[in-house]
Symmetry: D2
Subunit: 358 residues, 4 copies
């Protein structure tokens, strides 16, 4: 039996961390060799997350600069913004020599251009004064959205795993941008996310008694994921000046559904739009183009992105819906898809989960 590729997880006790632990526990080619976390450490991971009993009983260690990269082929940072860049910067030469690859879940390595990062950081409520501490590595980073950047991911050493909202938005806009079918006017996007997008940190909004049976907009016109969407989509075709993006929080744990309004440069029928999307994604196994609106339960627990399109009577106002599981295609299983590509494996390996329905 071939030896498995060794993976270190930094940030193991967050939802991103347990997502990776879950997926790699049954992956034929990867094995996790060590778990690190900043706040919760000193016990085995199943002590923090009992659903992992018998699945993973690895010890969670305190993050220790000296341990990073030891006995590992890949490091996955499932940490908040700025953690990965601070840890990697002093180590990068060494990591490179050892041929160690990196995937980061935060925005630290989603931008090749420091200006884009700075626009992103400024919008981010927790890091808006932060300087990037590893600017010189940005040019090596690749935006980890396999449906658009498969070739770059194949050869990448640092992959910036996309923001969850960004995944749902970009996949819904890309085919129209590619064909330059988007007018310059504006794109309006109302997205709805499950609560897990905000992670496990306690706060009043996410207290069950507040959130049950509730629904609310938040971070109106000011969410940082818009920066990566504008960048990626503009690079594909027409430059997008502005996206009016409103995230909403829904009373369920998992799922993102984006409702995207786009003014078209030319009249299209619903069928023509469906064909455009089917063509664009014809070789993509995790994109499903539907002729009726998607919903979040039909993708829950899976790496699928379900997309449908509609158009108004004028044929010029298109609506695209895209639905993902924010913790899967919006986070962990997307990262494993990247990993598979980086190591020349079939990109579906280990992430062919059937959506958990009902």
């Amino acid at each position: 039996m071939k030896e498995k590729i060794k993976v270190q997880v930094i940030g193991a006790t967050g939802y991103g961390g347990i997502g990776i632990i879950d997926l790699l526990s049954s992956h034929p080619n990867f094995q996790i060799t060590s778990l690190f976390a900043k706040d919760q450490f000193g016990e085995t991971i199943n002590n923090y997350y009992p659903h992992l009993n018998t699945i993973s009983e690895l010890m969670v260690q305190e993050i220790d600069q000296n341990e990073i990269g030891k006995n590992a082929d890949v490091i996955i940072f499932t940490t908040p913004d700025t953690v990965a860049m601070q840890i990697i910067e002093p180590l990068y030469k060494k990591l490179l020599e050892c041929n160690i690859k990196i995937i980061d879940f935060s925005g630290d390595f989603r931008f090749k251009d420091i200006n884009d990062y700075e626009e992103y950081a400024q919008k981010h409520p927790k890091i808006n004064d932060t300087q990037h501490s590893a600017k010189n590595l940005l040019h090596k980073s690749v935006y980890g959205l396999p449906e658009l950047f498969k070739d770059e991911i194949k050869n990448a050493t640092i992959v910036g795993n996309p923001g969850c909202f960004a995944v749902s938005m970009i996949l819904g806009i890309a085919p129209l941008s590619k064909l330059k079918l988007i007018t310059g006017a504006q794109i309006n996007i109302d997205s709805t996310t499950g609560t897990s997008g905000a992670g496990k940190s306690l706060n009043e909004t996410q207290h069950f008694s507040n959130m049950e049976s509730n629904f609310m907009p938040y971070r109106v016109l000011s969410h940082q994921h818009v920066t990566e969407v504008k960048k990626v989509v503009s690079d594909l075709g027409k430059k997008i000046e502005d996206i009016h993006f409103i995230p909403h929080l829904i009373n369920t744990t998992r799922g993102i559904l984006s409702s995207i309004h786009i003014e078209l440069t030319e009249k299209k029928s619903k069928n023509q739009l469906l064909e455009i999307f089917k063509d664009y994604y014809q070789s993509e196994q995790f994109i499903r183009i539907l002729d009726h609106p998607p919903n979040i339960k039909n993708v829950r627990g899976s790496n699928f992105c379900d997309i449908s399109v509609d158009v108004d009577a004028t044929g010029k106002h298109a609506i695209i819906f895209s639905a993902i599981d924010n913790l899967m295609k919006g986070q962990s299983s997307n990262a494993v898809q990247c990993l598979n590509i980086m190591y020349g494996l079939d990109e579906k390996t280990g992430i062919e989960r059937v959506p958990l329905y009902p």
Copy 2:
């Protein structure tokens, strides 16, 4: 003690019916004298709805043309489209002589102009071939949104209680339309409704195992409530050519939140917009203008409509959020507000419910 005004409820066993029964059970000026229904009758209302035990134990009778208007000052039709117009048409002269007032929960009497009704009916999946059977009464009907049509309601004999989505949209757009601040371009609205908007009829979408943890768009760009919104809002100010309206279904029972995108004719700051809304609704006791986004749990069970505004960096793209309980301000308590006005009572009587939070 003054005698109470007598109310007949037609359609008593739907959610609209039990909403009226609930509200009038403790209203100092009204009393329900008889309950009618089409499918469920022959038992007391608390047999169909045990939460009404000890609150109302009136017998539900089969709808009988001969009983309509007997021993009643008001008839409230909480019935689906076409029921009220068919029952009222042959009786109207008699009802008028007896000075009996009517409130209808369906779209039958929401339009004075038959063309508007026909546009509405065409979009309605259940009645799209229907001819209006009481055309000659339409000119007497009044659109029952007290915040805009208080004077007309005061003297109305037939009130068409607005569609639930329409209430949330109109209240969010009206102040900007009145000031002609809306460009002709377009209005994009993504709304989210609780499941109760579809009533008690069983269907696969609303089966609990399907709907729990789910979220989905439906009736994309084709919901009939748009007709009444366009009509009412255009009449206030600038003619609105089109509204791109997407309803979404959320996994909670009560609540509508509308996220309204409007292009402004002139640059406005958030504070200027807030002032516009506060001015417009200054004498309205059920409209609360907030400086942060509303949510649906903060209005649950009440007649409030909570509204907030935002604007993008250009000052020309406004976002308005409005939140209501679809069964209250979107239906039953709005109807009681109309009733109060029709009978010269303080419009808050009997509907000053505090939102059920948490």
Copy 3:
């Protein structure tokens, strides 16, 4: 117009506090004159709880011993255990002179006998080492369950509002205890509570992403409310040696349903049991005896306790179900019911809320 009775609320920013604010905001006989809290103060109450906008905009003040009792006829402590007893002890003489009445939501004044309190405190995870600081006042306290202690409440100066689980258990057991129909063997009770029972304090269990779609037992055989149940029920009839009580946490905000297993001393049919319960509660307006199992949505937002009974084929094993809204009959509206009784009002005044269904 008669002047209203003045109420101080200590602990205004907890769920108990906002429950009282909600109920008294429309009560014809009471008005809140001041709000106090320990952690959140310095703003008006609607700033902490936006659902109260326009309903109550009273300032929340820091708890200040010198302000307690000023300009007040009643003080309601909606505070955690030990707060009321510590504040009241030094003030009691003064309060008594001013004829100020007290209702406390914690366990501080639920027991006349210090030994019972100590058993209770020992089981309580937050106060298990605590000595009662106002022992000399315990004999004056009355257990605030109107269905059992109406006469005592009428003349009480200190009312200990019962524990929410205790309300549901006692109301379900009392008729059988009174008739000495309970064998000494044991009572097994599995109860399920909505999350609001634990209040607004943030914790991992109640983080939405953990609690959604979840269900779990907790505090197995060790919940402090059992002490008051044993005490009250034993005093009515046969001494109860033990109650095996298991609380469960459900993924909804409001509601308690208790499933009570009791071994009967003599064979009874379901109908006989129903008659026993109907007789016992015949003059109680908030107890509804049903011939089918109750559910928590049929009492949500109301002061009702719905009860049903069943019996096995032997006629000796009875099952009693009781359902309440833990924040209403289990807390705030029960306290207002006590208040009404203490001031000679109709006990239904201000708390005739219809359950919020659907």
Copy 4:
């Protein structure tokens, strides 16, 4: 590559059917060759269940006696009670000759003794007058609970997959019964199930607007699963005369948690009980014995049964909690576990799903 074992699914469009389709779609040893259903047929399965798009696009055919057993090694009946026995009876000889094995999800083949079946059927609200139509096959049937009957399952030709409640109850009682630690007195069990236990059939209770935020007992002391529990558990050790079982319906889709009260014949500590359970299940890979109460989200989507124990101060009243996913260990993945055993495979093959948390 070895050819896969061929599976026919009868009842493909129910929740049991899609559970099997999901699990076998990625199973290395089985493949589904045909799907049959009674009411929904004529389209591919993904048309009825869009979450299966790209996963299974097999045509669903009308049930046709002539097709049963064709091109199949195994037939899985995911049908309601009485369907399997009626279809199998006339075919059994033929099926036996072809060495075709059968798994049935209903109660048709859960009992070797016709008297036990009749007790079961009498309690079942939908089949209480039914005569078993394949009595002569009952002695060949095996109760499909691998943790107790692995050897019998290995050689079985007809496996009766257990009732979902029964799985949770039996696994929680078996170790104590085996050691004859249960007194004859009684066992009290309160269980809570997600809505999916009742399948996809529409009914008023399971209408989302009714069920959201709700919780209720049902089928009090009269659920048919008790018969199989009594039978299995009695056979292991002491004869159980009665189980007072109350199922409750919770507002989530998946999960069963049973709270089991047992009087012990001798005093035991919590640790002693834990050891008893660990010993009994030491070689079982899907049973996890915990030292804290389980919850349903920690087993969701997996084949695990999580069990914990507690005991009161006397050491004689034990509480056992067991949690499963009713559609997995309570249904489909348990059936696949049986399948694996029947074909000599590692029993974990294809069902090592990590619980979907959060």
